[in-house]
């Protein structure tokens, strides 16, 4: 076993692709995010932002959105304006953006954001809009499925808003751009899938020559599996810790103070990424390049749905297909890190932890089942 652990470790850390995708690529992305959002991100030194709110014709006036804005960030100052006034104010840089509020067909508010140019202010305003849509989506779902739970949900959401505004990140409001970094941590975790590929390609003799060679030795295949899984999880766990350290200590972005929970979810993320990769690769034959391409696309898609590229996607999914958000491991990891930074009780973390654990067990069980064969019909 020691022999297998030693060489699994050596061949894994020397594999440039295995080091690049799960570690260096997220670090590069992090750095790009950092510069794209401005260096003040996550440092809790937020600036005042004036924003116009325009209600479209025939819209049933609702203070819900404005109320949300005021409560979520005391630095946001919304002003109710007419369309023309708002446009002029935007052109004269008296406001940083305009929220156009209208009714949609399903009774939800249809809010659109108009800003000039890019940068930090746009990201903040967009982030709050997405946050609002997220909350609205949750309320909509509960109303549709079980209205009796609505008071409880509203109470919970109110508590969250309160926490975000007053207790998170050491008493400072939570910067909405940090969401992208949480999604990036999730993306990095799921990149552990490449380790999973290597594990299966070392065992399944009908898809790789190395596995064929391993299979004719007197070593039990379970030993190959356990040793490579242990090494992969250990290395990927360190990858995620390096990423978290880079975000915290180099980029100086505050991810929260619950280090224990962060480490726990870094470990969980490593497991879910690696086991997910094993799960996908264990199905059918095919070259390592084809399977790696499938994993890359899969990871990007799950991370996209968790808000890595466009945060509004998560809110859209919450309204229309909430089950995806409950199951998508990237969303679960993103939400877990968000919760670590914002919640006092950490109650939701338990749900995320249990769901991720069940997913890991499911992935591993199916993978073991798929690779159980010792003799093949064809090679």
């Amino acid at each position: 076993m020691k022999h297998l652990l030693k060489y699994n470790f050596l061949k894994t850390i020397r594999d440039k692709e295995l080091v690049f995708w799960p570690l260096f690529f997220p670090i590069v992305l992090c750095t790009l995010f950092y510069f794209a959002f401005g260096s003040s991100i996550g440092q809790n030194s937020k600036v005042d932002i004036d924003v116009a709110v325009v209600y479209e014709d025939n819209t049933v006036l609702s203070e819900g959105f404005e109320d949300f804005l005021e409560r979520i960030d005391e630095n946001i100052h919304s002003k109710h304006m007419s369309e023309e006034e708002a446009r002029e104010a935007l052109l004269n840089e008296k406001v940083s953006g305009i929220y156009h509020v209208g009714d949609s067909n399903n009774g939800l508010l249809n809010v659109k954001l108009q800003v000039l140019g890019n940068g930090y202010t746009k990201t903040v305003l967009k982030g709050y809009l997405d946050g609002y849509k997220n909350y609205e989506g949750m309320i909509y779902q509960v109303m549709k499925t079980d209205p009796s739970k609505l008071p409880e949900l509203i109470k919970d959401l109110d508590k969250q808003i309160e926490v975000i505004n007053s207790k998170s990140l050491g008493g400072k409001p939570l910067d909405p751009t940090i969401q992208y970094f949480y999604a990036l941590i999730a993306f990095a975790s799921l990149s552990g899938a490449y380790f999973g590929t290597e594990i299966i390609f070392g065992i399944q003799a009908n898809i790789s020559d190395i596995a064929k060679r391993n299979s004719v030795t007197p070593i039990n295949r379970m030993k190959f599996l356990v040793s490579s899984l242990l090494v992969s999880v250990a290395i990927h766990f360190i990858n995620i810790l390096i990423l978290l350290s880079y975000i915290t200590f180099v980029l100086k972005i505050n991810l929260g103070s619950s280090i224990g929970y962060m480490i726990l979810f870094a470990l969980m993320g490593s497991f879910v990424g690696i086991s997910g990769g094993m799960f996908v690769v264990s199905f059918g034959k095919g070259s390592i390049n084809v399977k790696s391409a499938i994993l890359t696309i899969g990871n990007l898609l799950l991370s996209f749905m968790a808000g890595l590229m466009v945060d509004g996607v998560k809110a859209f999914i919450e309204i229309n297909y909430p089950i995806i958000n409950r199951l998508n491991p990237a969303t679960l990891i993103t939400d877990a890190f968000y919760s670590i930074a914002t919640y006092g009780s950490f109650e939701k973390l338990k749900v995320y932890l249990v769901t991720l654990t069940l997913e890991v067990l499911f992935f591993l069980m199916i993978s073991f089942f798929n690779i159980r064969r010792k003799e093949y019909d064809s090679l």
Partner: protein
């Protein structure tokens, strides 16, 4: 001499295709057994069945007198395999690769260290020991592939086309190495579609085609199975159709073929005291036929295959 491997009535189907058709082989202790056949004849399938990597439909395989199965660790520890495709880790050095695979068989560290050094010496990769596989040429890579398969000093070594895409110099080294391994006590199963290699190193040979064993025996025994004997080639020859017909009537001439200005004359195997070439030269001179180089070759395993199956091994 006892049998190390016994294959009895082995049948392997891929859907409707019969890859191995009631194959029977006995590999004796201490021999280099050649499995010769064209690409797709079933050589690799046979090896994969022997190693319990492939399920087979019918038959029985025993190694060292025991039934072989995927869990036969006591059998596997004494087998070394060199597959057709190079299977080494790009991230490990030459020495580390050999040590890794040797370590899957040998637990004693001191013994393993010695075996690894011997394997490196054996394949002459000493000056490349710290290099990664990607830095090696095709021939050196093949030698590394072999070292990984034999470092643990197995009693039975299976080599599946180990010289494919190898330069002549490396090929010679590999073939010499295999003979040395055999001299050191290992029984060897060697598959190839290169008949020259099989002729050169194998003590017994089985020729298979489309999953069927068509002949088995020593090199000489196989050549005795066919009618064709010596083949004489005459280059730059200027000969008429009438003269060719006349040539066909010369004693022991079995077949005459003229392609461009190259004349190939096959003689039957009947013993005529090596006079075929003299008789042919006499014929050419008597008929005032102008000719260039003239040379004779003995029948090859390709001739055996050609006569039995009607096609060349490389078809």
């Amino acid at each position: 001499m006892k049998n190390i491997v016994e294959i009895d009535n082995l049948v392997k189907r891929y859907g409707d295709l019969i890859a191995l058709d009631h194959l029977k082989l006995n590999i004796r202790e201490g021999e280099i057994f050649g499995l010769l056949g064209p690409n797709g004849s079933g050589k690799t399938t046979t090896i994969n069945c022997i190693l319990s990597l492939l399920k087979y439909d019918k038959g029985n395989i025993t190694i060292f007198g025991k039934d072989m199965s995927p869990d036969s660790t006591d059998i596997k520890k004494d087998i070394g395999v060199v597959f057709q495709n190079v299977a080494v880790f790009d991230a490990l050095t030459v020495k580390e690769n050999i040590d890794y695979f040797c370590g899957l068989y040998i637990k004693d560290k001191t013994k393993r260290k010695q075996y690894v050094e011997e394997a490196i010496d054996f394949v002459e990769l000493n000056e490349y020991r710290k290099m990664r596989p990607k830095q090696l040429s095709g021939g050196l890579l093949r030698r590394l592939n072999i070292a990984c398969g034999i470092a643990h000093k197995p009693k039975l070594i299976i080599l599946d086309e180990p010289t494919v895409a190898v330069d002549p110099q490396s090929r010679n080294k590999i073939l010499e190495g295999i003979k040395t391994l055999n001299k050191n006590g290992a029984t060897i199963i060697y598959t190839s579609h290169y008949m020259e290699e099989v002729e050169l190193i194998c003590s017994r040979i089985a020729i298979i085609d489309r999953g069927v064993k068509i002949a088995e025996g020593t090199n000489e025994e196989l050549k005795n199975l066919i009618k064709t004997g010596e083949k004489i080639t005459v280059e730059n020859v200027n000969v008429t159709a009438e003269q060719i017909n006349k040539l066909k009537k010369v004693a022991y001439v079995y077949e005459v073929d003229l392609t461009a200005d190259i004349l190939k004359v096959s003689f039957s195997k009947a013993d005529n005291n090596g006079a075929n070439i003299i008789n042919l030269i006499n014929f050419l001179q008597e008929n005032t036929i102008i000719y260039g180089n003239i040379y004779s070759v003995a029948p090859t395993l390709n001739d055996v295959f050609l006569e039995i199956t009607g096609k060349e091994i490389r078809d």
